[in-house]
Amino acid sequence: MKLTRGAFLMRRNLQPLAFRAVSSVLLALTLCLAGGREAAAQQSAPPADAQLDVQALFTSTCGWCHSDGGRAAGKGPQLMNSARTDDFMRNRIKTGKEGAMPAFGETFNDAQIDSIVKYIRSLKPDQG
């Protein structure tokens, strides 16, 4: 399932010539991460209306541990059909678990974390 690609996934001209066509960066995250912990905290999370391409997020990052895009257990647990509550998931995404899962509380705002949980709840077995 692919959620709406909104303002969060923005196209940005990094190189006017060759790179223009392929430059899509997570600008809000860049702002969040660029200035270090203190700066990141000051700049707070991305805009509340920003939406996240969660499927792409799983393909780039989450999937190394949550196998098959969250459909199977790997280093991390299977997320599809998880018995955990939404609140548990939100908290785990925000604060992480030492040695097991990174904390994304400085990276994603509440609305974006909600969209991640929504994506997880929508996971179905891969028919491919």
Binding site: A34, G35, G36
Partner: protein
């Protein structure tokens, strides 16, 4: 007042002089010549000596008495998040090693008594955001200091005698890039070399040379497109998506004043280019100098030579792992180096290719690698979508990041191979050119058994140049730790279940084993203090490869902690 007879006074003076001389010899600083010579009592650099054998000539513990081996002492480093992965070093009877979060210890090698400890203050909030963290693979020593990298991008020098910081140099903007240092540094001739993480992130994967005396940065070599020639191998300016890095230590060739280092994969790990990877996909071209071995001038960091082992690596089988075994054969000076793919490359001392052989049984990312030219024959370059035939080996590699051992007495190279595969669905990605949530993988995947049957691992005893196999020992789950061979005709393998095994180096017969209480995935060394030989091994499981063991194998791994570890030291009863 009695006069001391002149002869007696002279004798006493001579004795004092001799004692002082011995004391000074004992206190002789660890320098390049000592690391090169490699006294049997010591273990002075990550790979043992610059020759990179992971071999100890000590033979007090041998095939006849290894059954009498027992635990001499144990040290618990604490806070072993994701286990214990480092390679201990030993100089003049003192053992130096690290745990997670770069916790650094100097211990009496005979008793385990703590001489000093150093617990660095790190950016914990940053580390909590990192995926490949907070483990540490070890230190370097030289010029009276111990050098350790940190996950928040610093290289720290500690006084060898006191553990007090001598300097603390910030080398990477880890807060921006979310990468740091997990690999051990390398010391040579007043320079400390350390490589950053990089393969999964949008950086340039730098390797640094730092002045050992002052901590000042002397040079930086970016493994991703550092020059015009290399930039041409990243179509559409895709060098901006980055990768590379050199996250494990290389070695030093004193004859040519050259640092040998392995580099990591480009990002994204998996590309949707299809077969025309030179012009299509996420990063069209060969992507220099990723998945390569490189030779850098120690003093300037200038590139002297390279061989790209995997042009346009589309499988995350980077060359950053492993030893650089320097041996002489038939009048030729050779270097043997494995990469994650399970292929072993044999070079001359300028990275001219001499041979390529493979340690894994299950491998299909290429049909073969030409042993003369290094060309990847029948390579699999995926298009976006589900990949029909599982990819072998698995992303954790045909060999692990840990080291094999070359034993000059037997002439055999003892190396672990890993037999596992993965299903995957490759995604058509948009370029990630600035740090985002964390990684840049480019596929969904899942571990899978090989076509030939179950997942397994094996210790091979092979000719390091031809790959000819003399014997093999199999393990139900791939061992991930380093291997040690000794002058006592022994090979030690710390396995993943938590048992350390000793084998006859000539035959592969198992002679001894002992349970260390948790899985191994770090270093093992041998050294001597006051004429007594010791074997030191790190135990403690957890990390990018071992975190897959509980869901994949169940059994003992289900209850195996991933936040615990110990240094266990053996000697004869």
């Amino acid at each position: 007042m009695k006069r001391v007879p002149r002869n007696l006074a002279r004798s006493v003076a001579l004795a004092i002089g001799a004692t002082l001389a011995a004391s000074q010899a004992f206190a002789q600083p660890v320098d390049t010549a000592r690391i090169q010579a490699g006294d049997a009592n010591d273990w002075l650099t990550y790979h043992g000596t610059y020759r990179s054998y992971h071999y100890s000539p000590l033979d007090q513990i041998n095939t006849n008495n290894v059954s009498n081996l027992s635990v001499a002492w144990i040290h618990i480093p604490g806070r072993s998040t994701r286990g214990l992965q480092s390679m201990p070093l030993v100089a003049d009877g003192v053992l130096y090693y690290t745990g997670s979060y770069s916790r650094t210890f100097a211990l009496n090698g005979a008793t385990g008594e703590v001489i000093w400890s150093y617990i660095p203050e790190l950016d914990e909030a940053l580390i909590s955001r990192q995926t490949h963290s907070p483990y540490n693979r070890g230190v370097a020593i030289g010029d009276g200091k111990v050098y350790v990298g940190t996950m928040d991008g610093r290289l720290i020098a500690l006084d060898m005698k006191t553990g007090k910081p001598a300097w603390d140099t910030k080398l990477i903007d880890s807060e921006k890039l979310t990468v740091g240092f997990t690999g051990a540094p390398l010391y040579a001739k007043g320079t400390v070399v350390i490589g950053s993480q990089g393969g999964e992130w949008p950086g340039r994967g730098p390797i640094f040379g730092v002045d050992a005396a002052t901590g000042a940065k002397k040079w930086q070599f970016d493994t991703v497109a550092p020059n015009e020639e290399a930039q041409k191998t990243w179509g559409n300016d895709s060098w901006r998506t980055g990768g590379g890095g050199g996250w494990m230590p290389g070695t030093y060739d004193a004859e040519t004043n050259t640092i040998w280092w392995g580099t990591a994969n480009p990002a994204p790990l998996y590309d949707w280019s299809g077969t025309d990877y030179k012009t299509q996909g996420a990063r069209p071209g060969d992507n220099l100098y990723t998945s390569s071995v490189i030779g850098l001038d120690l003093d300037t960091g200038k590139l002297k030579f390279y061989h790209q082992e995997l042009p346009h690596d589309a499988w995350d089988f980077d060359s950053a792992v492993g030893e650089f075994v320097m041996l002489d054969r038939d009048g030729q000076k050779l270097v043997v180096h494995p990469n994650k793919s399970g292929y072993i490359f044999v070079y001359d001392r300028s990275a001219g290719l001499k041979n390529v052989w493979r340690i894994t049984q299950n491998s299909n990312f290429v049909k073969d690698i030409d042993p003369k030219t290094g060309e990847l024959i029948g390579r699999r370059d995926f298009s976006a979508g589900k990949v029909a035939e599982p990819l072998c080996p698995h992303i954790s590699g045909g060999v692990s990041f840990n080291a094999g051992s070359y034993n000059p007495k037997t002439g055999l190279y003892y190396k672990l191979g890993q037999e596992w595969c993965m299903t995957l669905t490759v995604a058509k990605t948009t370029p990630i050119t600035a740090p985002q949530a964390q990684l840049n993988i480019g596929a969904d995947f899942k571990i899978a058994p090989p076509p030939s049957g179950e997942i397994y691992g094996h210790l091979d005893a092979r000719d390091p140049v031809t790959g000819a196999k003399k014997w093999e020992v199999r393990f139900p789950e791939p061992p991930l730790a380093s291997v040690l061979s000794t002058g006592g005709n022994l090979v030690f393998v710390p396995d993943s279940r938590g048992t350390i095994h000793a084998y006859n180096a000539e035959t592969g017969a198992e002679l001894w084993n002992h349970a260390d209480g948790t899985g191994h995935q770090g270093g093992i060394v041998s050294y001597a203090v006051n004429g007594k030989q010791y074997i030191a091994v790190t135990a403690g499981f957890g990390g990018m490869a071992s975190d897959d063991y509980a869901p994949t194998f169940g059994g003992v791994y289900k209850s195996m902690p991933r936040d615990d570890g110990a240094l266990i030291v053996y000697s004869l009863k």
